[in-house]
């Protein structure tokens, strides 16, 4: 196809393409496609996409020669992709392929062909655009960068084991994949810099450098690069992590911000970064909770101050909580009773984010400090012994609410409810549905309240109660749309209206299924929770959580099982073992040490060898004229003299003839002119006159001494590489 219709620059790009570069570019396209697609699809489809991108990049040159304006070319490609999407959608929803080759293979074949043609279309278009206009080459580079960045992006937000191919071998050797990924990024930036700066025009190189700096800045700015997950911003409203209240009235959502020791009601409960891990819990004893949920209690709100529940100001209540991290073994001041309904469960907690006070599986009676196996990764590690409830609620029948040991003030503290009569009347209404013979049972009353709340509430992190004077009443007697803080408060108020000793507890609640059969439980920021609990005599605080039957929000995704397993192993202080049972490999540090010492020694030896080789060559080239035969002298002597000139920094320029060089330095080194003439006569004339040449060389040596200062000559002698710059 003729290229005459294009601008000279485009023509140059089209015709000047070297085959090797075309091939390398196509390979780069294929690699980019692999990086982008490999997390998305099955292996066959990924390779189809890679092949498509490879062939597409090869065809890009042909596409660029098509007589279409560049924008029509781009539009045609977008159209082609749209058609592909429509066809894929249509074929995917029709039953034709499914009936032809079965649903699995049908979908696979569709995906295969989509990636094949999609990869080809995208690659050929990018290539063609880049060939048409150099500016549009930015698109090609950006696509490749995005593909690679997307490949590494899952590494963010604590998923330190992505991509598996890179991270696993490093992690099993006890290393930190972050370092490897940073090195990969550094190498990529370095390569990019070299490629971008390989430019004849300085201005363009500078522009490229600026673009590169912007890209790097953008990537660094949008990616958290250091180590493990930074803890999510303290927006959970539950005060589980210490920095909660330091922001001072963040936003207007929480009724003027939260003050110390109270729960915040929010209208829009941000769910960003909810998947960020905050802690790892290892179960030393197997335990399956009857409710299907693990509750980790951290704090409690039991004091009603006339408008809401706040942390207790008395020091003779909520004494079962651990208010500080243990140093040695610390028992609970108000240990839970056994009552035949619980068993002792030991857990280890490794905190990934700072917490002001420890949390523990309900209900803890003893806490022990533990050594941190990886202080770079874990903030704090402690062990907890809990009396975990193993039976369902009926076992609590017969236990009264509140402890017989309580003083009247304490009982008053736990039963003080809002004066709003609607709570009491609603509580009475709820109790009316309970069989009469059970109405006296504390646990039945509490469960009745929470079940009623569960039946009649809708769960949503977006609600509109925060600005009401009593958000709980606004929720309970309003649309009953809310989240755990609303449910917990409403539950406690209703229970207290029924005379039960109740409080709101905060902490984390995780479904048992999240363990996924392992002994490790990963707690993410999204698991923070508040729930009502009642005090039963002889048992202690029992969780009576509200489980809303209807949720307006989509359920959160399950935690990453690999990350959970990995962090668990790290928290145990074990070296993760390869899954296939092969012996654990040599530790990463040792490997790195050996490699670096090997590289250092090899590098030094290579450097020394190079140094000696350079000096050897220099000396040999300087001495060669003494041993050269006459027919070689014209060359060897001239080379020796050029070396000597190069050592004092006088060299021929690129594109300058030897005579022009000699003429240039004629004023200071006049003998170079006859020397050059004799030298050239060897190749272009009728042979060198050896005597003349020797005379000229001798004269030149004297001139050189006059011309160059002593230190310059000394430097020239010392420089092992001076001969390399000789032209």
């Amino acid at each position: 196809m003729s290229t005459a219709a294009f601008s000279p620059e485009t023509r140059e790009a089209l015709e000047g393409e070297r085959r090797l570069w075309v091939l390398l570019r196509a390979l780069a396209h294929g690699a980019g496609a692999w990086a982008f697609l490999s997390p998305l699809a099955g292996e066959a489809s990924v390779w189809a996409g890679v092949f498509g991108a490879f062939v597409g990049a090869l065809l890009g040159g042909r596409l660029a020669r098509v007589r279409l304006r560049t924008w029509s070319l781009a539009a045609a490609s977008v159209l082609a992709l749209a058609v592909l999407a429509v066809v894929r959608h249509g074929a995917g929803s029709s039953l034709f392929f499914a009936s032809l080759m079965g649903p699995g293979d049908g979908l696979g074949a569709l995906e295969f062909s989509t990636f094949l043609f999609g990869g080809a279309a995208v690659s050929s278009t990018l290539r063609a655009l880049a060939l048409r206009h150099r500016v549009l080459g930015v698109l090609e580079v950006a696509a490749a960068t995005l593909a690679v960045a997307a490949f590494f992006a899952p590494h963010r937000d604590g998923a330190i084991n992505r991509p598996f191919e890179l991270a696993d071998p490093i992690l099993t050797r006890g290393g930190d994949p972050t370092v490897a990924i940073l090195i990969a990024g550094g190498v990529a930036v370095g390569l990019g810099a070299v490629l971008f700066l390989r430019e004849r025009r300085v201005l363009r190189a500078v522009v490229h450098l600026l673009v590169l700096v912007l890209v790097v800045f953008g990537v660094v700015w949008t990616t958290s690069t250091k180590g493990l997950p930074t803890p999510p911003p303290p927006t959970d409203g539950l005060g589980l992590r210490g920095d909660e209240n330091q922001g001072g009235g963040q936003g207007g959502g929480g009724g003027g911000g939260s003050s110390n020791g109270e729960l915040e009601f929010r209208d829009d409960y941000s769910s960003s970064q909810k998947q960020v891990p905050v802690a790892v819990v290892i179960f030393r004893d197997d335990y399956s909770p009857p409710t299907g949920m693990y509750y980790f209690r951290q704090g409690a709100f039991s004091q009603y101050n006339g408008s809401r529940l706040v942390a207790a100001t008395r020091d003779d209540v909520d004494r079962d909580l651990f208010t500080s991290f243990p140093n040695g073994t610390v028992p609970s001041l108000d240990p839970p009773g056994d009552g035949g309904s619980s068993e002792s469960v030991e857990t280890s907690v490794a905190l990934l984010a700072d917490h002001p006070q420890p949390f523990a599986l309900t209900s803890a009676y003893e806490m022990t400090s533990a050594t941190n196996p990886d202080s770079a990764r874990f903030r704090r590690v402690y062990r907890v012994r809990s009396r975990a409830i193993v039976a369902d609620y009926p076992i609590f029948l017969g236990h009264a609410s509140g402890s017989s040991a309580w003083s009247p003030e304490v009982r008053e503290h736990y039963t003080k409810a809002p004066t709003d009569p609607r709570y009491a009347s609603l509580a009475t209404e709820i109790m009316a549905a309970v069989p009469e013979e059970l109405r006296g049972e504390a646990i039945v009353r509490a469960v009745a309240v929470s079940e009623w709340l569960g039946k009649n509430s809708k769960y949503s992190l977006r609600s509109r109660h925060a600005n009401a004077p009593d958000p709980t009443a606004d929720y309970l007697f309003g649309d009953r749309v809310g989240y755990c803080v609303h449910f917990a408060h409403a539950g406690v108020y209703l229970m207290r209206s029924l005379g039960l000793a109740a409080r709101v507890a905060t902490g984390y609640a995780v479904e048992e299924s999240a363990r996924q059969g392992g002994s490790t439980l990963l707690i993410t920021g999204g698991a923070s929770h508040a729930w009502p609990e009642v005090y039963l005599d002889g048992i202690g605080w029992v969780v009576v959580d509200v489980a809303p039957e209807e949720s307006l929000d989509p359920p959160p995704p399950p935690p990453d099982p690999d990350l959970q397993r990995l962090l668990g192993e790290l928290a145990r202080g074990d070296t993760p073992v390869p899954e296939d049972g092969s012996p654990p490999p040599r530790s990463f540090d040792e490997l790195a040490r050996r490699l670096s010492s090997l590289a250092l020694r090899g590098g030094l030896i290579a450097l020394a060898l190079l140094f000696f080789a350079a000096y050897g060559t220099k000396v040999w080239r300087a001495l060669a004229p003494r041993f050269a035969k006459d027919d070689e002298l014209g060359r060897v002597l001239y080379r020796a003299e050029l070396d000597a000139l190069s050592a004092i920094g006088t060299r021929r320029l690129s594109g300058e003839s030897r005579e022009a060089f000699a003429d240039r330095v004629r004023d200071v080194l006049p003998s170079l002119v006859p020397l050059t003439n004799e030298h050239l006569a060897r190749t272009f004339g009728r042979g060198t006159d050896v005597t003349k040449m020797r005379e000229a060389a001798k004269a030149l040596r004297a001139e050189r001494k006059r011309f160059a200062k002593a230190w310059r000559r000394a430097l020239g002698v010392l420089d092992p590489l001076s001969w390399i710059w000789t032209r």
């Binding site: 001239y638 021929r652 006569a681």
Partner: protein, 337 residues
């Protein structure tokens, strides 16, 4: 692989040719101040049997130069058929016969006889060649290429020495007939003359009121046969080594491949370049051509032969860019075993 017949030229002949060039150059330098570079190119053109196009402003000494050259060569063949120097001022109304000559009826003999035009001379100054009509240009160019003129179906041979110095004004182009590339191709050199240096200009003024050309008469002239012998010595006595010939071809190919060049160097142009390189080498006292000759002559030989893409105008820069790698190759060549 050398195809030159070196043996036919003796050292004495070479030395004589070098002496001729030196004499001629000395005489011209005495007549023209501050134009040593142009004088060298003109003598190279003369010895290489090419023609020269001067691109220049009025009053820069073109005519003086051409007249000095014409007066430096004396006739020694005994015939007075050819004048040493003729100047033709080209105008739009000029006819081909005005320069070639025409047949005149002679009443005594009752027949037509050919009266030679101004082209029948050793040195012809074709002033403002782009001001005349294409047919006159064509007649001149035929004369330049074939060394003969055709009039009334009769062909008349011109002098062997016949050497044309044409001029044109680079700026004043209104109402001109610019020479097309194939016609420009017939000129060996296109020399862009620059204004002379301050010292040379002062020296020129200091000579006043002595007319410039009278300085030249103190130097001995050269004879027509000396020039012709020197031409022969150049062609047969100066070595053009295989790497130099390769360099010429490689340069022409590089020029043709350059995307900024629509039409590169013709094969004729590199053929013409060979004697020019030899002539320059001889003038510089060498019996072999060197890369430096190529470096010096390439701009003048090829400047007017390349046709550039629209929007590109710096032919010299392109020539330099294409030549640089060739010169590097030649420099490496000289280091080869």
């Amino acid at each position: 692989m050398t195809t030159q017949t070196e043996q036919s030229v003796t050292t004495q002949e070479i030395e004589a040719a070098q002496a001729t060039v030196a004499k001629l150059a000395a005489r011209l330098r005495a007549a023209i101040k501050g134009r040593d570079d142009v004088i060298e190119l003109i003598t190279v053109g003369l010895l290489a049997d090419g023609h020269v196009l001067l691109e220049d402003y009025p009053g820069s000494g073109k005519t003086t130069l051409a007249r000095a050259l014409g007066e430096s060569i004396v006739e020694d063949s005994g015939t007075s058929e050819f004048a040493p120097f003729r100047r033709i001022q080209f105008t739009p109304d000029l006819l081909p016969s005005d320069i070639t000559g025409t047949s005149v009826f002679s009443p005594e003999t009752g027949s037509f006889s050919f009266r030679p035009g101004p082209l029948f001379s050793h040195i012809v100054l074709a002033d403002e060649i782009n001001r005349t009509s294409p047919k006159v240009q064509a007649a001149l160019l035929e004369a330049m290429a074939e060394k003969q003129v055709t009039s009334d179906n009769a062909t008349h041979k011109l002098d062997d020495l016949f050497f044309v110095i044409a001029t044109q004004n680079p700026l004043d182009v209104a109402g001109t007939y610019p020479l097309p590339t194939p016609q420009l191709d017939r000129f060996l050199f296109k020399i862009a003359m620059k204004h002379i240096a301050r010292d040379a200009e002062l020296e020129l003024l200091a000579q006043y009121p002595v007319p410039p050309l009278s300085n030249a008469s103190s130097h001995p002239p050269v004879t027509r046969s000396e020039i012709l012998a020197a031409r022969r010595a150049v062609r047969h006595g100066v070595l053009l080594a295989p790497p130099m010939r390769q360099a010429l071809v490689d340069f022409a190919r590089a020029l043709r491949a350059d995307p900024r060049v629509l039409q590169g160097a013709s094969t004729r142009s590199i053929m013409l370049a060979m004697p020019a390189l030899q002539a320059r080498a001889l003038g510089r006292g060498r019996t072999w051509t060197s890369p430096e000759d190529l470096d010096a002559l390439v701009p003048h030989v090829f400047r007017h032969r390349v046709e550039l893409s629209p929007g590109v105008d710096d032919a010299d820069a392109i020539l330099r860019e294409c030549l640089a790698p060739i010169l590097d190759t030649l420099a490496k060549e000289s280091m080869r075993r």
